[in-house]
């Protein structure tokens, strides 16, 4: 009941025919997506093949520093992605810094917790566990953080009169930003809550499906998936909270002013 079916490059080429079908459809209907479609497919293939090489190398060496370096690079990319998904971002290095650092801290804390609690690989930083875990946590927390931050900055602009009305009445910046911060937090938490509610009913989560294809018995695959969803929830909560608090701090100043001039 273990073992999996190995794939050859010919198998992939056959599957790629489906994409050609899509491109043909785009040509036929005048969608003008065929160029972007082929480019995206090419990027995906090259990126994943490279990641495969990197992972293989990492697994051969099992080095703490190499693993940490790869994790850092992943968090930096996630920070860039968070920035790109915001309509009004904090000017200067702040927008990028808040996204990347909260991702790194939240992802690290939760991954460490998993590696030293339920999983306990030997050594604890074994990249075969650490990197995929960190990657999945990062990817999901990133969605929540970028949604939350995007909502915070848009709301701060939109609700400027209401925020300043509170400041004028002598409330602190934290108090005045609270209604807006609460709405942003709620927005950030939504995708994670939805995916927990729909898991197994509306869709089969990717990691569990992958493990089942690789020959793991469903009972174990499901346990891994549940663990992962809890880890994602923890990292998302930690990440959103710190990212929103840091942004509220940066969007206001020590004289309790709303500083929309720090957005661009």
């Amino acid at each position: 009941m273990s073992g999996y079916i190995e794939l050859s490059y010919l198998d992939l080429a056959l599957a790629a025919l489906l994409l050609l079908f899509n491109a043909g459809l785009s040509l036929l209907l005048g969608l003008r997506l065929e160029g972007r479609m082929l480019l995206a497919a090419l990027r995906m293939t090259v990126q994943l093949l490279l990641v495969g090489l990197v992972l293989q190398t990492l697994f051969n060496f099992v080095s703490l520093w190499l693993t940490a370096l790869v994790a850092l690079v992943m968090a930096l990319f996630a920070g860039r992605e968070i920035l790109a998904r915001q309509e009004h971002r904090l000017a200067g290095w702040w927008g990028y810094g808040i996204g990347s650092s909260t991702m790194l801290v939240a992802g690290m804390v939760v991954t460490m917790l998993a590696l030293n609690g339920p999983l306990r690989p030997d050594p604890w930083y074994d990249p075969r566990y650490a990197i995929p875990l960190f990657g999945m946590i990062l990817g999901n927390a990133m969605t929540g953080i970028s949604l939350g931050l995007d909502s915070l900055t848009s709301l701060a602009r939109q609700e400027r009169a209401g925020i300043e009305a509170q400041l004028i009445l002598g409330m602190s910046r934290w108090r005045a930003m609270r209604p807006v911060a609460q709405r942003a937090l709620r927005t950030g938490f939504t995708p994670m809550l939805n995916s927990m509610a729909a898991a197994g009913v509306v869709f089969l989560p990717g990691m569990m499906t992958g493990q089942i294809l690789a020959g793991v018995v469903p009972e174990q695959a499901v346990k891994y998936q549940i663990l992962l969803l809890f880890l994602i929830a923890g990292a998302t909560g930690l990440g959103i909270l710190t990212a929103i608090m840091a942004s509220v701090w940066r969007l206001t100043d020590d004289r309790h002013r709303l500083r929309l001039d720090r957005l661009r």
Partner: protein, 199 residues
């Protein structure tokens, strides 16, 4: 009283003036002259430089939230952050009396109502009430009666006179020449961010 010395920010000043205890000083000038910028600078809502003292307390030595309770600012556009009117002000006897004096026949109904259902005149009077509920010694009023009919306008003016008699200093921005004549003995004129001859 309020004393402003060498106040400046981009597009404004430097300017100096003072308002005595119980005095109403009118601030006039064309649109875009910087009247609102000046009021915002006094309550420290935008970065600015200068020495300001209110009720013998220098602004630098007072935390910003406390400063804004001492110097109350009423912007031309009022801001609201909750759905219910009553969530924007302490719901006590003082609020009821103030609303009564501002022409609200049923203060309880107003407080439990929704902000979205208020007329612009009601919003304006409620924002004034909200600002007056505190312990401010200085009032900065930006067009406080622009959306009011003559009756309600007279109520607001009566209320302001009572505050002036109690020693509160008022800086009044108004396009209503008759109102300025009724309330203020002295005026400042702002043009392109600079004070020109007072009247």
């Amino acid at each position: 009283m309020l004393r402003v010395d060498d106040l400046h920010r981009p597009g404004l000043g430097p300017l100096s003036f003072h308002i005595d205890e119980g005095e109403c000083l009118a601030l006039t000038g064309p649109s875009g002259a910087g009247k609102s910028l000046l009021l915002r600078a006094i309550v420290d809502l935008d970065p600015n430089q200068g020495r300001i003292t209110a009720a013998a307390r220098p602004r630098d030595s007072v935390p910003a939230p406390e400063w804004r309770r001492l110097v109350a600012y009423l912007p031309a556009e009022s801001g609201w952050w909750m759905d219910r009117v009553g969530d924007h002000m302490p719901d006590g006897q003082a609020a009821r009396e103030l609303l009564d004096g501002l022409g609200f026949a049923d203060p309880d109904a107003v407080l439990s109502g929704l902000v979205g259902q208020l007329s612009s005149g009601e919003r304006q009077r409620l924002a004034l009430a909200r600002g007056l509920l505190g312990t401010a010694r200085v009032l900065l009023l930006d067009e406080p009666t622009s959306a009011l009919d003559p009756e309600n306008c007279a109520l607001v003016e009566a209320l302001l006179r009572a505050r002036l008699a109690a020693g509160v200093s008022v800086l009044l921005v108004s396009h209503d020449v008759a109102q300025v004549a009724r309330l203020a003995a002295r005026g400042l004129r702002l043009e392109q961010g600079q004070l020109v001859a007072g009247s």
